[in-house]
């Protein structure tokens, strides 16, 4: 399967990406595929030859990353060192499509987008970056038995002040803005908490243990489609959209008065 085949297939599988649920399903497919590849890897390795994989990671790195991060990940004036950032960091930046930057200049804001590499390529790059020095591993999420309420408390204390009670993000000063969490897959949420990408602070295992990490990710996941018992959620903007809705209602009521107070002619 070539790279462009992979991209085409993934795009086709995701459709036009309007539907959040479908996007999630897409990610589930990707992750399932990744898991399947992982399971069948020994057999594949024998077929392709064991020496194949470790060599492709460095080659990809040299072609796509080294110009900013240095030939051995030591960093340059264009980009930070990758020694010791760990697998979690490489996985987060590559899978979120934030890296590589479209324009390779310092000071660019890395935006979320389609990943530039296939799943296999990403895993090879991640392995290579992780081999440069010790750093946070990709967290192993388990959302089967979580305490959603605990997660909510942790979310409100640690996340809501930047990402909003709804996860739609918030305004920062001089650093772009805190991004919305809804399009971020669970695993990347967990990675971001551990590594603190960009202006985001990081949360170590001593501060937020793995169980708490599961809880807080589960709550952020819940916020994708929270319970809107009261009807249409007005995009969860709070009193700002409520003001707009009230404004429209006022318009309706003015129309009612225009009808009632109309001067009958003739």
């Amino acid at each position: 399967m070539t790279y462009s085949d992979a991209v085409t297939r993934r795009r086709a599988a995701r459709g036009d990406r309007r539907d959040r649920a479908r996007a999630l399903l897409g990610w589930a497919v990707v992750l399932a595929a990744a898991g399947a590849l992982l399971v069948f890897q020994p057999a594949r390795g024998q077929e392709d030859g064991d020496g194949d994989r470790p060599e492709r990671g460095p080659a990809l790195y040299q072609a796509n990353c080294a110009s900013c991060h240095g030939n051995r990940g030591e960093g340059t004036f264009r980009g930070p060192s990758l020694i010791g950032v760990g697998a979690a960091s490489a996985d987060y930046w590559l899978r979120s499509g934030r890296m590589p930057l479209p324009i390779r200049e310092p000071g660019q804001e890395a935006k979320r987008g389609e990943p530039a590499f296939s799943d296999l390529q990403i895993r090879e790059l991640v392995d290579y970056v992780a081999s440069l020095g010790d750093g946070p591993q990709i967290p192993e999420l388990d959302l089967t038995d979580v305490d959603l309420a605990k997660g909510g408390e942790l979310y409100r204390l640690n996340c809501a002040s930047c990402h909003n009670w709804d996860g739609k993000g918030g305004a920062l000063v001089n650093r772009g803005n805190a991004p919305p969490l809804h399009p971020v897959p669970d695993r990347q949420l967990a990675e971001a908490i551990r590594i603190g990408p960009g202006a985001m602070p990081q949360f170590s295992e001593r501060q937020l243990d793995d169980e708490e990490l599961n809880d807080v990710v589960a709550y952020a996941d819940y916020l994708r489609t929270p319970q809107d018992a009261g009807g249409y959620g007005l995009a969860h903007w709070g009193p700002s959209t409520e003001t707009v809705a009230g404004f429209v209602a006022m318009l309706v009521l003015v129309l009612v008065t225009a009808w009632l107070g109309e001067r009958r002619r003739g």
Partner: protein, 279 residues
């Protein structure tokens, strides 16, 4: 015809509302049925008024508000006559006014029960030399709790935390810190602590930007530069966040090395006095 139909629809919708309630059909069905009931009743009444009731303009004379001069004069004279009688007993009148005033003051006086006088226990925080830092679950904070780039909200150990006790603890490489004179040994291993109560309107300064080391209050976007000693750099805050001096003990646990560097919380009238008292 239309009116009758509207009333019939309203009736049916009211029955529907009761049905929706009995079936526990949910907020939306309740709202739909009740608003149809209300709306068609309203529309029916409006149609009735506009179609079946007199719509021609009526005219009505506007009443005169200013009274005729002689009535005004007579009223004034009646009042004056009585007042002359009162004025002859000038002392009594004065005493009456004083008594009513005193009674009024007396009955309003218990309003003081509403709150203690502010002088008692004004702005004492729970921080003093030797108090451990704990997080919201009660875990003690040690020198290894945060990585560089980490942030956590902490409280003084051993007391029910008051609103003014909250502290935001960050870990920043020592070489990046550029704190004011005399705070060099307040930051063991790069741990820096500031009051989390915004000096503008008192919201928690919960938003920490690890790049640029800025603390930001989400209420009005007051922004503080942490490495300079949390001085305001943008937004409405007039004052820096007070810093909490820290030290580490032999077990690697973090403790307060004293009280805050300045008054906690928003500006207020007697801020100057508090500043002297605290520092």
């Amino acid at each position: 015809m239309r009116v009758a139909l509207a009333f019939l629809v309203s009736m049916a919708a009211s029955v529907g509302f009761i049905g929706a309630y009995q079936l526990d059909a949910g907020t939306q069905w309740l709202a739909l049925s009740l608003s149809i009931a209300l709306g068609s009743l309203g529309a029916g009444l409006a149609w009735w008024s506009r179609r079946l009731m007199p719509q021609e303009s009526s005219e009505e004379a506007r009443p005169t508000l200013a009274p005729p001069p002689e009535e005004e004069r007579e009223t004034a004279e009646t009042f004056e006559a009585g007042r002359r009688g009162i004025r002859r007993r000038g002392l009594l009148g004065g005493l009456l006014a004083a008594a009513v005033g005193a009674l009024g003051l007396g009955t309003v006086w218990p309003a003081r029960s509403l709150g203690p006088p502010p002088s008692s226990g004004f702005r004492q925080t729970g921080w003093r030399e030797g108090v451990h830092l704990i997080d919201e679950t009660g875990r003690r904070i040690g020198i290894d709790t945060l990585d560089f780039g980490g942030v956590v909200t902490v409280f003084p150990e051993g007391r029910d935390p008051a609103a003014d006790d909250q502290v935001v603890l960050m870990r920043i490489p020592l070489e990046d810190l550029d704190l004011p004179e005399g705070r060099a040994n307040w930051t063991p291993d790069g741990y820096v602590a500031f009051s989390k109560v915004c000096t503008h309107a008192g919201c928690p300064v919960g938003l920490y930007q690890d790049v640029g080391y800025l603390l930001l209050c989400p209420c009005h976007q007051a922004t503080f530069d942490v490495v300079q000693g949390a001085v305001p750099v943008f937004g409405p805050a007039p004052r820096e966040l007070p810093q909490l001096p820290l030290r580490a003990d032999r077990d690697g646990l973090l403790l307060a090395a004293g009280d805050f560097s300045g008054p906690v919380g928003p500006d207020r009238w007697r801020l100057g006095e508090v500043k002297d008292g605290d520092a």
